[in-house]
């Protein structure tokens, strides 16, 4: 009586485990393929930063060298373009984060006249094809007789970044309990203290991801920049111009370094999350 009773539930369990093993293997293979698919172009970029090429082109592997790292800033105009891109990205991120956060807070929290219109415009700014936006910006600047250059690039980047920051912040604000801010007021905090000590820390994850998004969008923007740049050259514009004559390996090195900074930022934030989770678990554990 007892023997079949114990063995019968075990048989299906073993089958379940076998199925789990098989699906685990499929998942593993899928993961490897996906990583390879995403990694391959990046690997090529990094690899050709070490290419010991002597021609103007950097297409064929000719051996390993660290030459391009040593002579990273030798090409004056390339370096200037990179500096332009970095400063524009930093400035436009800072400006659009401040404006976009304010907009996201207002849209997520308050009902006011023009709220629907503002939401619609944000959505339009995100969904409008970049090339059309660029062309329109150019005709606008020409119409108003504004000289194109660094300021117009910055203005354009701020414009398209605001929408992304506002949307990420708004999503965060909508999920918050409004009575937390009321509690701060109840405990004697005036409007500014309330914002600084309670609201801002609570929406910070949204602000940070909005800012990162803004930075990434700005630093490699080509389409809109090309319409609004005038004589100013940014990193993507310089590379595009160089493809006709040959892209120097320094470009690969700079790309590698930008990518590396991104990876470090991602790792640090992931580590912080893990540590926080760990701390939470420790605190709960006693």
């Amino acid at each position: 009586m007892t023997a079949p009773a114990t063995s019968s539930p075990r048989a299906p369990r073993r089958r379940v485990r076998r199925r789990a093993v098989r699906s685990g293997r499929v998942l593993h293979l899928y993961t490897v393929l996906l990583i390879a698919w995403l990694l391959l172009p990046i690997a090529v970029m990094i690899l050709f930063g070490f290419n010991d090429t002597h021609s103007k082109q950097n297409y064929r592997w000719e051996g390993f060298t660290l030459r391009w790292y040593r002579h990273l800033f030798d090409k004056r105009d390339l370096t200037a373009a990179l500096v332009n891109s970095l400063t524009i990205a930093l400035l436009s991120t800072a400006i659009s984060t401040v404006i976009g956060t304010a907009a996201g807070l207002a849209l997520g929290r308050h009902r006011f006249r023009g709220r629907g219109a503002a939401n619609l415009v944000l959505f339009m700014a995100i969904s409008c094809p970049e090339i059309v936006m660029g062309a329109s910006l150019l005709s606008m600047f020409v119409t108003f007789n504004l000289p194109r250059g660094y300021p117009t690039i910055l203005a354009a980047h701020v414009m398209f970044s605001i929408a992304f920051v506002a949307v990420t912040v708004r999503a965060r604000v909508v999920g918050l309990d409004p009575s937390v801010e009321e509690a701060a007021q109840d405990l004697g905090a005036g409007p500014w203290t309330r914002f600084r000590l309670v609201t801002l820390p609570m929406i910070m994850p949204g602000v940070v991801s909005g800012a990162l998004l803004a930075f990434v969008l700005s630093i490699d923007d080509f389409v809109i920049t090309s319409f609004t740049s005038g004589a100013t050259v940014t990193f993507p514009l310089w590379i595009y111009g160089s493809t006709r004559t040959g892209t120097p390996p320094q470009v690969n090195v700079m790309g590698t370094l930008i990518c590396a900074v991104g990876v470090v930022v991602a790792l640090v934030s992931a580590r912080r999350n893990v540590r926080r989770l760990q701390a939470d678990r420790d605190a709960r554990g006693d």
């Binding site: 007021q185 405990l187 000590l197």
Partner: protein, 383 residues
């Protein structure tokens, strides 16, 4: 501290000024082009050190009243006084009352300690004093040793106590609590009711307590305002409200009430005698304002626990009504009966299972319900 202790003494000693006074307070909301009257003309005086409850069904305006006292909403009419000072129009951060929110509204990014110290820091209390008061308060709410935790790392009951400590540590003139136990399970709720009452006695601060749970209000309060549709239906001690409900609404809302009506046969000795059905007889004490005369119908209530159920017609001066048992619910310590009476009214009876193990009656039995005349409570003329 001594000041507040004094105030906790009997009301007539420190009753010079009520802690909170609402005079003709009304609030209308505008929503989708319509005006919704949430509160319609409230006059309340809440004494220093009192445990005062606002009790009523959902949507009756309890939260709105509390938010008007706290300063989150401005009344559309009327004035709000705290200790005699008119605070109408003063923002919440400048009022000497604190609120405990139903969602607790703890600061998620701050430790328990920083949550509790928040109010004192805003008022620039010296560091040493903050340390002493926060430590003491955490001890009062039994959270010592958990100072470094984030709210998310606490249980519901612990979060509730942090919310309480965060408000109480400021020693406000009054503490406003909006269904503070609503999110807790039954057991924890009961434990916290006792705990809250103990803390209130210890600190001697006025509590204004919003709840829709009548049991909670009855057990904890010094006085209760029963609200309905933006108005106070009755204001009184738990006993007054339970034993002598002023309106049909209060009788129905507080506890279980049996509503019975019958024709007045005669009046004498301060009582009306009512004939009920073919052979029932109810006596009810009369009150001055009651329009009772022979031949008129009168409505009255009897609490289920005052009624005795039996098989024989009781003798003496007891009220007695005959009926048929329609439902028997055994509840361990007690048994509930539903009895359908001769005139069709359903009567609920609670009996303790203290003495006899066997049921007095089963479904379908004909029984006699009896109670002492003083437990009949006249409500008014019946339609």
């Amino acid at each position: 501290m001594t000041e507040t202790k004094h105030a906790a003494a009997p009301p007539d000693v420190g009753a010079a000024l009520p802690a909170i006074e609402l005079a003709g307070v009304a609030k209308e909301y505008r929503a989708h082009g319509e005006t919704v009257a949430a509160v319609r003309g409230l006059d309340l005086e809440i004494a220093q050190g009192e445990f005062f409850s606002l009790l009523g069904p959902s949507g009756c305006g309890k939260t709105t009243t509390l938010r008007i006292i706290a300063g989150f909403e401005e009344p559309t009419a009327g004035r709000v006084y705290l200790h005699g000072a008119d605070v109408t129009g003063v923002p919440a951060n400048k009022r000497d009352v604190n609120m405990v929110f139903q969602s607790y509204a703890l600061f998620p990014h701050m430790s328990v300690w920083d949550n509790v110290a928040f109010g004192l820091r805003r008022r620039r209390v010296p560091k040493e004093e903050i340390r002493a008061r926060v430590g003491e308060m955490l001890e009062t709410v039994d959270l010592t040793g958990r100072e470094k935790r984030r709210p998310a790392e606490l249980s519901g009951g612990q979060q509730q106590r942090v919310a309480l400590a965060r408000a109480l540590v400021n020693r406000p003139r009054a503490l406003l609590l909006d269904e503070p136990l609503g999110a807790l399970d039954q057991k924890l709720r009961q434990a916290m009711q006792v705990e809250l009452k103990r803390i209130q006695r210890e600190v001697g601060i006025t509590f204004v307590y919003v709840t829709h749970d009548q049991g909670e209000a009855l057990t904890m309060s010094d006085r209760i305002a029963v609200m309905n549709d933006g108005r106070v239906e009755q204001l009184g001690t738990p006993r007054e409200i339970y034993e002598r409900p002023a309106t049909r609404f209060v009788a129905g809302f507080i506890g279980t009430s049996n509503l019975l009506a019958g024709e007045v046969e005669r009046i004498g000795d301060g009582r009306a005698v009512i004939s009920y059905g073919p052979d029932g007889r109810i006596e009810v004490p009369l009150r001055p304002a009651l329009p009772a005369a022979p031949g008129r119908r009168l409505e009255l209530t009897v609490r289920p626990e005052k009624i005795t159920i039996g098989t024989e017609r009781p003798g003496g001066a007891l009220c007695a009504v005959r009926g048929t048992v329609t439902e028997v619910v055994y509840l361990g310590t007690s048994t509930n009966y539903n009895v359908s009476t001769a005139t069709g009214a359903d009567v609920v009876v609670f009996t303790q299972n203290a003495t006899s193990a066997d049921h007095v009656a089963a479904r379908g039995d004909t029984v006699w319900l009896s109670w002492e005349p003083r437990h009949s409570y006249a409500m008014g003329a019946a339609q």
